[in-house]
């Protein structure tokens, strides 16, 4: 007892443990972040090239953000992605969690199955979905033609369908993540509440509406905040499937556009300005989400 109280009184060991993590953050987060701010005002014409001084005027890149039609497209698509993430990822995860929670046999199997996509790399998933949506003889086209639903192959990455083709794999990949969080939340609801409700005649959907959802509110709020902030960072899967703005500059997301400007075009300073925009959007949206979906301690 004495020794442990001595440990907490002496702050030395705490400092020793905190310093490496603090140094790590300074080296790999705060310093690059500050450098990124400086880069966004500088004139850098190639990846790895030194800055040729400040832009003239220094806010050039930020002014360009307001006039760049591709960035407008990217922001529009990112907003759609965010909405779809909330509606479909969390929505489907909630439905699946409720269904799995209500079965007695095979619940563990379903948990594993639904969570499985999370552990597969986005690159592998992108390649797999590329084969599924491949024109003209991908799996989806073959299936739909075989079932007589379509008579000719469809270019799923074309202007008419690209958004659904891009969003579906992203939705599918992360449903399992929210599913597991929600199932854990459901498991924490005491079963005697359900038993008492059943005695009062509250069963089926009423049980979900009056007991499950209110008691799951805090977990749902956490999922929604994670989903909204996570949607802003989506990059890998759309990049593997759609590359640079396919089709015809309609498929940009903020993440893919920033990457293209920085790494493919060597427009490092403008890429840095886009990165700043993403950070600002992330901070604003996460704050709004935190306020709107604020967890309640009275539940």
């Amino acid at each position: 007892m004495n020794s442990s109280s001595t440990l907490y009184k002496k702050k030395g060991p705490l400092v020793v443990f905190l310093v490496p993590a603090f140094l790590f953050l300074i080296l790999y987060l705060y310093y690059p972040f500050l450098q990124n701010i400086i880069n966004s005002f500088s004139d850098i014409s190639g990846l790895g090239s030194p800055a040729q001084g400040l832009n003239d005027p220094w806010w050039t890149n930020y002014a360009q953000l307001f006039t760049d039609p591709k960035l407008r497209t990217a922001l529009g698509n990112t907003v759609i992605l965010t909405i779809c993430t909330v509606v479909f990822q969390v929505g489907i995860a909630l439905i699946l969690a409720l269904l799995v929670d209500s079965i007695r046999v095979g619940a563990q199997l379903f948990r594993t199955l639904y969570f499985f996509p999370i552990v597969i790399s986005a690159t592998a998933l992108g390649l797999m979905f590329n084969l599924i949506f491949l024109y003209p003889s991908g799996m989806l086209n073959q299936l739909l033609i075989g079932l007589g639903i379509i008579s000719e192959s469809v270019d799923w990455k074309g202007s008419d369908h690209f958004l659904a083709t891009m969003l579906t794999p992203v939705m599918w990949q992360y449903v399992g993540f929210y599913f597991v969080i929600l199932v854990t939340g459901l498991n924490n609801i005491p079963s005697d509440l359900y038993e008492a409700a059943a005695l009062d005649g509250c069963v089926g959907l009423d049980k979900v509406r009056y007991i499950t959802l209110p008691l799951l509110r805090n977990v749902l709020c956490t999922c929604l905040v994670l989903a909204i902030t996570g949607a802003l960072k989506v990059f890998d899967l759309p990049w593997v499937m759609f590359g640079a703005g396919m089709p015809q500059n309609q498929g940009w997301l903020t993440g893919t556009y920033m990457y293209d400007q920085t790494f493919n075009r060597g427009n490092v300073d403008y890429g840095s300005a886009i990165a700043m925009l993403i950070v600002v959007l992330g901070v604003v949206l996460s704050n709004v989400a935190n306020r709107v979906f604020k967890p309640r301690n009275d539940l």
């Binding site: 790895g48 024109y135 493919n264 427009n267």
Partner: protein, 432 residues
């Protein structure tokens, strides 16, 4: 308690050290080398023979041959050649972590490291090693902006028209010869399209540059191919715009794959390989792709000629030697590594080693390479190259990466009528 404290301190020290580990010198780059000429050294080498490069195996064998002969070790950090790889290489030079020997592009891409004095010119090397690369034709060494030669050239490349002879035969179309005209090409494409095949395998989303190069040459000459427009309104700008409009015409006639704006290069190449498309413009590196992936069907492919119009002849192609071996200043100034680097480049560019890398490509060797055992496709390429009357480099290599990216990204907007060819040229030139 003391044990706990000791454990905590040790753990913290390990974490701190692991943070600093990344700051350590690369293996073999340390200054502890004593400069003894016979002491085996580790040579850091970066090339584009990484990943699934067709010459990866040849490269590995050549490196092993060097290691066996000298006792030196090669730390290979090769990658796959693309814009990201180029950027990474240049970044390594910027941050002082450049390799000892670099196999890299000899065009404008190398200018940053040349102007920064990070690589050694051949004259300086020959002052100490008079026999350095004496098996090469000096007239074919790339000349940098300062008028000096820096890189010892390896094998070159060519870009020309691949044809699927099975598709052509089924459509009753003859394999194009060196007098192939644009009008005949349009007629052939229509015949092929009417027969249900895709005439041209090309992803305008990913690799429009092959057709751009030849369409620009079709609206100019071989000699003026490398001219860069000062504006969209000057003669060169109009030539570029006319080239883009020729691609638009092919698109509007439906000669490209239906999904040319959303397909990747591998997808359209597969279309050609699987016998669903007739024509494909690509480079010498694609020969290896077909040899590896369609070994049973090589007789169905042939190398032909890109149709010509105006002053250009179909027997004029894009090609040259765009890459070579550089010795970095860092290795040159290190007495322990200087000779190892020189010997490595001499070994990799020797007649024997080069003959393993070359099948149909151009070389700068005085004696020429001696490839043996050519298959049907390689022989077809050799035959086509034998009839080539003129070769010029790709104009895309003469403009900035940002200009190039803008130009080729806008090809899809031009062909769909979303942007005029003149505006696309102007937008690209503004970034050069």
């Amino acid at each position: 308690m003391k044990k706990n404290r000791l454990f905590a301190l040790t753990l913290a020290a390990v974490m701190l050290l692991s943070l600093l580990a990344g700051c350590a010198d690369k293996p073999g780059s340390g200054g502890k080398e004593t400069g003894k000429p016979n002491t085996p050294v580790e040579l850091n080498v970066v090339t584009s023979y990484g990943g699934d490069d067709g010459n990866r195996k040849n490269y590995e064998n050549a490196v092993k041959g060097y290691e066996d002969a000298t006792g030196n070790k090669v730390q290979d950090a090769s990658g796959t050649s693309n814009e990201e790889w180029k950027a990474k290489v240049l970044t390594d030079f910027e941050t002082g972590t450049e390799p000892d020997v670099l196999f890299f592009f000899t065009n404008a891409d190398a200018e940053p490291i040349i102007q920064a004095g990070k690589v050694v010119d051949i004259a300086t090397i020959r002052a100490a090693y008079p026999d350095y690369a004496d098996n090469m034709r000096d007239s074919m060494l790339a000349v940098a902006s300062d008028g000096k030669n820096y890189a010892i050239p390896s094998s070159g490349f060519w870009e020309n028209m691949f044809v699927n002879t099975k598709v052509l035969a089924d459509c009753g179309v003859a394999v194009p010869g060196p007098d192939y005209t644009w009008d005949q090409f349009l007629t052939d494409c229509q015949t092929i399209k009417d027969k249900g095949y895709t005439p041209i395998a090309c992803s305008l989303f990913e690799v429009p540059h092959y057709w751009f190069e030849f369409c620009v040459m079709n609206n100019g000459t071989l000699d003026s191919q490398l001219d860069i427009p000062a504006s969209a309104d000057d003669a060169v700008g109009k030539k570029w715009a006319a080239g883009l409009n020729d691609i638009k015409d092919l698109y509007e006639r439906g000669f490209f794959p239906v999904n040319t704006l959303t397909a990747t290069d591998p997808e359209t190449v597969q279309l050609f390989g699987d016998g669903e498309a007739a024509f494909l413009i690509d480079g010498s590196w694609k020969v290896t792709h077909f040899v590896d992936n369609y070994p049973e069907h090589l007789e169905e492919f042939a190398i032909s000629y890109v149709p010509a119009k105006g002053e250009r002849k179909a027997s004029e192609a894009i090609g040259g030697i765009s890459m070579g071996y550089f010795i970095t200043k860092k290795a040159w100034d290190d007495p322990a590594k200087r000779e190892a680097a020189v010997k490595f480049v001499e070994h990799m560019t020797s007649d024997d080693v080069m003959s393993n890398f070359v099948t149909t490509e151009v070389t700068a060797l005085k004696n020429g390479a001696s490839p043996s055992g050519l298959n049907e496709l390689q022989q077809s390429a050799a035959d086509a190259n034998g009839a080539i009357t003129g070769v010029v480099g790709a104009v895309q290599d003469a403009v900035s990466p940002e200009c190039k990216a803008e130009l080729f990204a806008n090809v899809q907007r031009v062909v769909t009528g979303d942007m005029t060819a003149e505006d696309a040229v102007a937008a690209a030139i503004a970034l050069n």
